[in-house]
Symmetry: C2
Subunit: 309 residues, 2 copies
């Protein structure tokens, strides 16, 4: 006899972003048996977003039961500052969360043990346990998209820090005389090397709006201006990763997010630039994230399963 009632056990998993929520039913072995997406609707305010999260989670649990599955837990990943120990979404710039006790709200609504995690940390958890960092003891997962953030995962557990704010790699200063970051400081890594910064910089210089992926393509095709913007971003990213390696000393860095889709156009020059910056330090292995969009849901499910133990 086991604790789980009849039916294949699944975790209700939600990865809540600024614009959309990725949702899934995840088996304990990491298999996704059902997936759906919903708009976050952040423009309606944080209370409405919380209502949507709870409704969607309840709907997923109901769907699981209707399909003969047994929901055993719920895992939710959200952006911003997250106090994982207390289960509170402390602060989020794009959704407006301010001290929302989301774990308790979901646990009560669903009647299931619930875990609340930080979006990038749950992504890092999934990549380190099921993805590109599998079998590695010390992993840094770096998400380079609209912003830049990292998750330091040691022994399969992501460090949250004292206030749920560890891993803010996007907000280390790499260019003291660089452009001002959204956070207010000049020269943050995110202001130079995020996918949005790359697109913005090219647009500023060329007058033509391009995405980071298009800048990478043009740079590869020999466009000089695109090449310069891409090189600046790669050099800044290498500076950021060198700093992270000096402080964390990991074996593998898993790079995910929009910028990583540039593939060899990113990884070849980034590896070379990082190698140049290593003096007495061991060079980490640089690899692309393997789980794509699903990492957040998988990681939220892993966090929920960890809490069951």
């Amino acid at each position: 006899m086991t604790d789980a009632p009849d039916g294949v056990p699944v975790v209700v998993a939600l990865d809540v972003g600024g614009t959309g929520m990725k949702c899934a039913l995840v088996r304990p072995d990491g298999a996704v048996v059902h997936a759906e997406r919903h708009p976050t609707g952040a423009e309606r305010g944080p209370a409405a977003v919380v209502d949507t999260i709870l409704e969607v989670a309840e709907g997923l649990a109901g769907k699981a039961r209707a399909d003969g599955l047994t929901p055993i837990a719920c895992g939710i990943g959200v952006p911003g500052l997250v106090d994982e120990a207390a289960g509170v979404a402390v602060w989020s710039s794009n959704i407006g969360f301010r001290d929302v006790p989301l774990r308790e709200l979901a646990a009560t609504r669903l009647g299931l043990p619930t875990a609340l995690g930080h979006d990038v940390r749950v992504g890092g958890l999934a990549e380190s346990r099921l993805g590109a960092g599998r079998g590695v003891g010390h992993v840094l997962f770096v998400a380079v998209g609209t912003g830049i953030a990292a998750a330091h995962v040691v022994g399969g557990s992501a460090a949250a820090g004292a206030h749920g704010a560890a891993g803010e790699l996007g907000h280390i200063q790499v260019r003291p005389d660089g452009p001002r970051c959204g956070c207010g400081r000049p020269g943050c890594l995110e202001a130079i090397a995020s996918a949005s910064a790359v697109g913005r910089r090219y647009t500023e210089l060329a007058g033509t709006p391009l995405t980071a992926a298009e800048v990478a393509d043009r740079a590869a095709a020999g466009d000089e201006l695109a090449g310069q913007v891409w090189r600046e971003a790669v050099e800044a990213l290498a500076d950021g990763l060198a700093t992270a390696q000096a402080l964390y000393d990991v074996e593998t860095m898993v790079i995910g997010g929009g910028l990583a889709r540039a593939g060899a156009r990113l990884f070849d020059p980034l590896r070379a630039a990082l190698r140049e910056r290593m003096t007495f330090h061991r060079e980490p292995r640089l690899v692309a994230a393997a789980l794509g969009d699903e990492a957040g849901c998988l990681g939220a499910a892993l966090l929920a399963l960890d809490r069951l133990e």
Copy 2:
């Protein structure tokens, strides 16, 4: 009946530096019942240093027994790259260690369970458990002396990283156009804000050799050049601490080493400069180390006691 034979139990503790070894007999409650110092004699080469370490440790164990105490373990802290799990001194620039299995050597010679740790990490362990970081879950210990290095201590345990090289705060780049560091990179924090860098910079500009403490004194007395050098160091150190906070997110930063002896002349402007750099991050509490020179021996003893459990 307990595991310990008759007599008050003590740990044989050694803190091996580039020039001197601090040695002590430490009770499990952290009380130092005997202390002595020996020259490291690094100029004789690493094999001779290892011999000295083993002789001194054996002598301390003998002294303990002669005094009616019972040596129960041995703890050794060394600089450089240290693989704590394997008990190997992997690499050290100032002593010349290359893959020395020091834990095994000492355990065999003394017949005592032995732990090998990194000098700054054991210092951090002691400060976080017995010193200025007592009662705090997330501590960053930063030693600012000849060099700069840090130990990230969470829940009373110092992170070593994948290769024993975590916490190298001195080797993050804070001034891309700054002076070249001993490690080979330009603008490392250590090349600008270490006690030796402060003395060197003033000497370069003024032609008069001064120590960092003297620079701080002169700056406080209104000497303009000293004020400039001191400000540059404080600003660079604040940049380094801001980066560390973005990545680690600690509650308290404990600053030790020679520079911390400047007291309010360091801490007042450093706190202000760090506060300016915090945007959405929580500001850590900045405090001076409390254990002084004894931190290394105390931490080596704590590490040895941890291994007994």
